[in-house]
């Protein structure tokens, strides 16, 4: 088969795969306009458990256990800690995705977007997704360290604080919009 044929067939194959992916209904499809309530708690749900998780990962705990419990118990502890690490990583990603969704709401409702910033966010999101998957698989395979998650959580937490300002503004504007709509409805009824 000719190289050109392969080239064009490959391109069309990629396009069709992308088309199928974009048309597939997302598993948790939520509209930006209806998620104002959930956004209030965005980025805060799992971070509240950070002290407990940090305690569970404390090196001193592990050293104490290694001196006082049999090896099979130690192995079990190690395995369970890894599971906790994976679960916590997943939860943080969920929080992070909520924040990203918020960023998208802001973009959707903005009169103008900066292409460079949007591309940067896209690139960073892709990079995060890739690294997250690598770390998760390494953790599951038992070849990665139990992560130092506190730094990770800090970032998400700080971001959520900054987002509160936007949420507040969104809330205010939504309230104005609702008031406007209801006043228009009332006016319509009056006329009728």
């Amino acid at each position: 088969m000719n190289f050109n044929v392969i080239l064009f067939f490959g391109f069309v194959g990629i396009l069709l795969l992308a088309l199928g992916w974009t048309l597939r209904r997302p598993q948790t499809h939520r509209r930006p306009q209806t998620e104002a309530d959930s956004l209030e708690e965005c980025g805060q749900r799992h971070i509240t458990y950070l002290p407990q998780v940090r305690q569970a990962f404390a090196k001193s705990d592990y050293e104490f256990l290694s001196k006082n419990v049999p090896p099979d118990v130690l192995r079990r502890v190690r395995r369970e800690r890894r599971h906790v690490a994976v679960a916590y990583l997943t939860a943080l990603r969920e929080d992070f995705q909520n924040l990203l969704r918020m960023a998208r709401v802001i973009a959707v409702l903005s009169p103008e977007l900066d292409a460079i910033r949007e591309f940067e966010r896209l690139r960073l999101t892709a990079k995060f997704a890739w690294q997250y998957e690598v770390i998760r698989w390494r953790l599951l395979a038992g070849v990665a360290p139990v992560p130092q998650l506190n730094g990770l959580s800090d970032l998400v937490s700080r971001l959520s604080v900054r987002m509160e300002a936007a949420m507040k503004e969104l809330g205010e504007r939504a309230a104005i919009a609702a008031e406007l709509a209801s006043s228009m409805n009332r006016r319509g009824l009056d006329v009728g």
């Binding site: 050109n4 067939f9 939520r30 802001i106 959707v108 990665a144």
Partner: protein, 263 residues
């Protein structure tokens, strides 16, 4: 074999014309032509092309140079009309969101241009193949634009109308098939012309079917004027978000590195 293809081709011509008329009727009866004027124009152009080609082929034969030139001439007009219809659907899908639409317009135009260039470079450079190559480039551009448009819709999670999605899908599938068909025509030009035409007709029938399915119900025109945020909200928050994301990626990089203390 050739006679069988020719007969099937004539049948498909009649079926496509009838389906095209049905789509046009749907557009008129449901008054959807007001919402989709460019799409309506495209359907009209296609019907006119089918009728004209039928007359030309009867007059001069399918393989004559005059018929070939006329066919590609009308095809240029049809692709132009298709481009307009696709632009209309793009506008329908995203124009409610001025920020995204402004960005999407630029990206879509750049994508279309790049794909045209790619198509031009990747094709075989022969004068006799110039028209099918140009046709393929345009088809590939249209398909790419629609896929990128859907990527935008998915990425920003924006609300879209079912009809717009189906119409765009019909265009995309037809264009994808057009690229494959043109690529085969490019490679096996002689002896493939009959089959090329027939397969094109079948693909067009598939798209007409999708469009008639999309237009079967009256459109509910929902003019949703989004309550936009002041520009400063975006300008102040986005760099901060990106900064945090970059920091988070750095954190993940550190987690990845082997020098981190293992437990």
């Amino acid at each position: 074999m050739i006679v069988g293809i020719a007969q099937f081709q004539q049948t498909m011509w009649a079926v496509n014309t009838a389906t095209g008329v049905f789509v046009l009727l749907l557009l008129v009866v449901r008054k959807s032509y007001r919402v989709y004027p460019a799409f309506t124009f495209y359907i009209v152009v296609n019907l006119a092309q089918a009728v004209l080609l039928f007359v030309i082929y009867r007059q001069w034969g399918f393989s004559s140079t005059a018929a070939w030139l006329f066919a590609f001439g009308t095809q240029t007009v049809a692709i132009g009309a298709r481009g307009l219809a696709v632009a209309e659907i793009c506008r329908h899908l995203l124009s409610c969101y001025p920020g995204i639409w402004g960005l999407a317009k630029r990206i879509l135009l750049i994508c279309a241009g790049l794909v045209l260039l790619y198509s031009g470079f990747a094709g075989r450079h022969q004068w006799k193949l110039a028209v099918p190559s140009a046709d393929r480039g345009l088809e590939l551009s249209i398909a790419t634009v629609i896929v990128v448009l859907f990527l935008f819709v998915r990425y920003y999670d924006v609300r879209t109308e079912r009809t717009d999605r189906w119409l765009a899908t019909g265009f995309c599938l037809y264009s994808c098939f057009g690229v494959l068909n043109d690529t085969f025509a490019d490679r096996y030009l002689y002896g493939y012309a009959e089959l090329w035409s027939l397969l094109g007709m079948l693909a067009f029938f598939g798209s007409l079917f999708l469009w008639s399915w999309a237009l079967r119900k009256p459109l509910t025109v929902t003019v949703t004027k989004e309550n936009l945020l002041p520009l400063h909200v975006y300008q102040s928050l986005t760099p901060e978000i990106n900064l945090r994301l970059r920091g988070l990626n750095e954190q993940l990089c550190r987690l990845w590195k082997p020098e981190v203390t293992r437990h």
